[in-house]
Symmetry: D2
Subunit: 284 residues, 4 copies
Amino acid sequence: MCRWLAYTGSPILLEKALYSPANSLIDQSLHSKLGAEATNGDGFGVGWYDDAATPGVFRSIEPAWNDQNLRELSAHITSGHFFAHIRAAIGSAVQQTNCHPFRHGHWLFMHNGFLADFARVKRQLALAVDESLYSEISGQADTELLFYLALTLGLEDDPPDAVARAIGLVEQVGETKGVKYPFQGTIATTDGERMWAFRYSTEGRSRSLFFTGSVPVLRKLYPDLPVLDEVSDESRLVVSEPIGNLPGAWHEVPESSYGVVGDGDNQLRSFKVKPPAVSVAVGA
Amino acid sequence: MCRWLAYTGSPILLEKALYSPANSLIDQSLHSKLGAEATNGDGFGVGWYDDAATPGVFRSIEPAWNDQNLRELSAHITSGHFFAHIRAAIGSAVQQTNCHPFRHGHWLFMHNGFLADFARVKRQLALAVDESLYSEISGQADTELLFYLALTLGLEDDPPDAVARAIGLVEQVGETKGVKYPFQGTIATTDGERMWAFRYSTEGRSRSLFFTGSVPVLRKLYPDLPVLDEVSDESRLVVSEPIGNLPGAWHEVPESSYGVVGDGDNQLRSFKVKPPAVSVAVGA
Amino acid sequence: MCRWLAYTGSPILLEKALYSPANSLIDQSLHSKLGAEATNGDGFGVGWYDDAATPGVFRSIEPAWNDQNLRELSAHITSGHFFAHIRAAIGSAVQQTNCHPFRHGHWLFMHNGFLADFARVKRQLALAVDESLYSEISGQADTELLFYLALTLGLEDDPPDAVARAIGLVEQVGETKGVKYPFQGTIATTDGERMWAFRYSTEGRSRSLFFTGSVPVLRKLYPDLPVLDEVSDESRLVVSEPIGNLPGAWHEVPESSYGVVGDGDNQLRSFKVKPPAVSVAVGA
Amino acid sequence: MCRWLAYTGSPILLEKALYSPANSLIDQSLHSKLGAEATNGDGFGVGWYDDAATPGVFRSIEPAWNDQNLRELSAHITSGHFFAHIRAAIGSAVQQTNCHPFRHGHWLFMHNGFLADFARVKRQLALAVDESLYSEISGQADTELLFYLALTLGLEDDPPDAVARAIGLVEQVGETKGVKYPFQGTIATTDGERMWAFRYSTEGRSRSLFFTGSVPVLRKLYPDLPVLDEVSDESRLVVSEPIGNLPGAWHEVPESSYGVVGDGDNQLRSFKVKPPAVSVAVGA
């Protein structure tokens, strides 16, 4: 099981989110808890936005807790919008091209979960990727393929619709291949302005997803957390699991829902899978 | 441009072929010449046969000349049939899953060359891989895909025919995509008993391919090469480029030809590409 | 905390010890249990003896459970005498030169534990390494330094005496630097014929150390373990922690003791630290 | 032989110096020329200054031309003061801790050259490192040791004096050990404000060292180089070898000289080795 976090708000040093002391708002996910959970040692990645045309992405196959370069970069890169992901490989190789977040243009995408029986559905799904995008795929991870399906289905125009259709396709192909519960997981995607976070599984028992409440409320709850004085009121953190020991700080995203944060937007909505509306030669 | 060598004969320590002193028969390819040719620093691999059911494969993304583990293994692994490859990446990522040799069951496959404009033909070619094999593909290298096409087209039954059809398919798809010279390179493949080495390019200006002459003749030419006393008379080395400074030792495989060595077999034949005899929805 | 295993007996494939199924005699240490214990993800190493003049050593900074090359080698290397170690770094960098086992000539050495406050004692200890050995040190791990101290103090002639003196020196230097409990851990060393395993800590609360009982007795206890039919009666496994769920199979080495196994030898003795008998300019 | 570059001037994206097109002022060193020179494939490092208390350092053991993370960071990190180094290992292991630049506090240090017969002089030199600094040494490279000697001898107070004494010590110890020409190379060091670049060798045949002339003059010479419009008049590049095809752009630092640039300072002086003024028990 992977873990991830997504931050949007006032620009902060990445290390504030990734390495802060134990009682900080945004802490242990990539540090202490990693240290206690071996299954997140199969590489990691961070993606961040700044003034450049495309977001930066740094990925490594070393466990995050070992990576000296990650510490260096986190202490020198400031961003108001970033993703971080620590990977627990299930099936595909431990290599940089399989590490999240994945990038296309100015979009990032990451996932905690899996496409069930990936070996059985992989070829059909690969066929459904738009030809103009196909050659950009550089690894073999299920999540990278899901990202390219979502791009094929309009991620850049309407993220919730495209993700609903991409998962719809995964379920449709899975069904024809006899896969019981084809999709599981939480997904985050962003264009650098807003981010969308989804919680869904075919089975209806989805992996967890949390977001922080309003910063002014958090400041009252935790007046001694220095990071809260640094960030603007509307800053938000979205995570696969709560981090830190901060009762009251985290709100759970309900089953089959998605949230939007950033750029003045801030919503929580129900999520329903849609038919892909793409013709895939399923029997091919 | 990659470099490779293939050995078949009496079992020897791998280091005899990979690290022997400068005047040895089988030397500098992975050592001194590597040291002079930066473009072969994008990873390497060795594959070897012993008593186990499948050949061993050791691959690394470090330059071969740096890899302490390669030195260790070469000094401890003895084999009468092995492949070694040093990679110069052109396009696909430097990662273990893109390093040669590739393996399926007890077959190995490696290549010095490329599928031209790979991004343009990749999707069509991936579609042509048999569904039962598709999910085994673990990297994104053009050669790995070529190997799976050859397997789809009968490599395990008739290697020259399958390679001819696989390249035929590459040329057919390339033509529909406007690729001028779709295939270039030398290929080696083996089942652990015999090995087949091909030299071909659409353009008719193929990368080089050499093999050693008879060991008894070599012993007369180079009486001071200790490795020649260790190997049986029918031992053979096939290489992408001559190694060592050994006039008379190397015979060039002619343009559009292939050779078979091992298991008592020893032939040189002309090579002609064949129609793939597989229906690929080229317009898809 | 690191984990290690040492095997001596009939030659077996390394994978029998490192990757066997859950109920095998020599199993989960480097596999399932690793999967549950993140702190052993900081690299690993194996060292093995065969016909070559020096043992082979394969080390990597990837977590052992990820390393495809380790699986390959384990399935192809057969040895009657080998060490395996999985590392949990405490302080020194995650790099191959800090991975155990360490090698000098035909000796191997590994350790689960630490030299307390290493930064404070390191320089004094480095000074005590014999000048002819000093330049061989290639990493910065406390264990590598301990190994070179033991070599300086006669490891190749009398391992128990040299280890006792090396730890004696660590304690002597530690004392002058105000280190409370300078040494902790279990050590294994071998010349390829016999292996010595030590359990000791200044504090008298040493990390655990276990060895397997006689193979004929094990066969009666576990008649369905196929590996037991492959190994000779006097084969032995020594481990930092029991592996598998095999009640009755493991005997604990008592506090402040050491054992010798291999080459017909098989003893358990008490271990006492000795004055180093080397002049170290402690005040320097 | 390593290569390095040092930049001081108006803040620019690192990629302007490391990856710019062929006719740019600061180009091919880490890109095209690397591609032609295998001996610079043993890792690399960059160190840069920004608002943080200490400079950032990113080091990797992959060849620079392969490293996707280096490309990413170079496209996102802006600095007005940075070092870049590509390594050709001679003797010490290819590991991050042996990659330049080395850092202590807010100082960086890098080197193209070697301490001759390092194995013979290493121990004596290590003894001379101040005890408070000794435990910070994290690799085994000759340059890292030289850096710690320079720090011991006052680098932070008077860089030219400390470097002169550190090399003086290397020569003194070398002489007692029978090393003919103990020191060779060019060195760059910086505190983030000014940088010092030295060219010296015991033999008097030192590796090359170049710096760019005044930017206004360069703009007249090369009116079409866009990077020249981005940088301030006093920006300077110091390199181990000229980069680009830019006649008139490069000035050679004479044999046995050093230069200072940055912070309004801009001088070229002669360099003479000094007695170390540190008591080293040379006979120890």
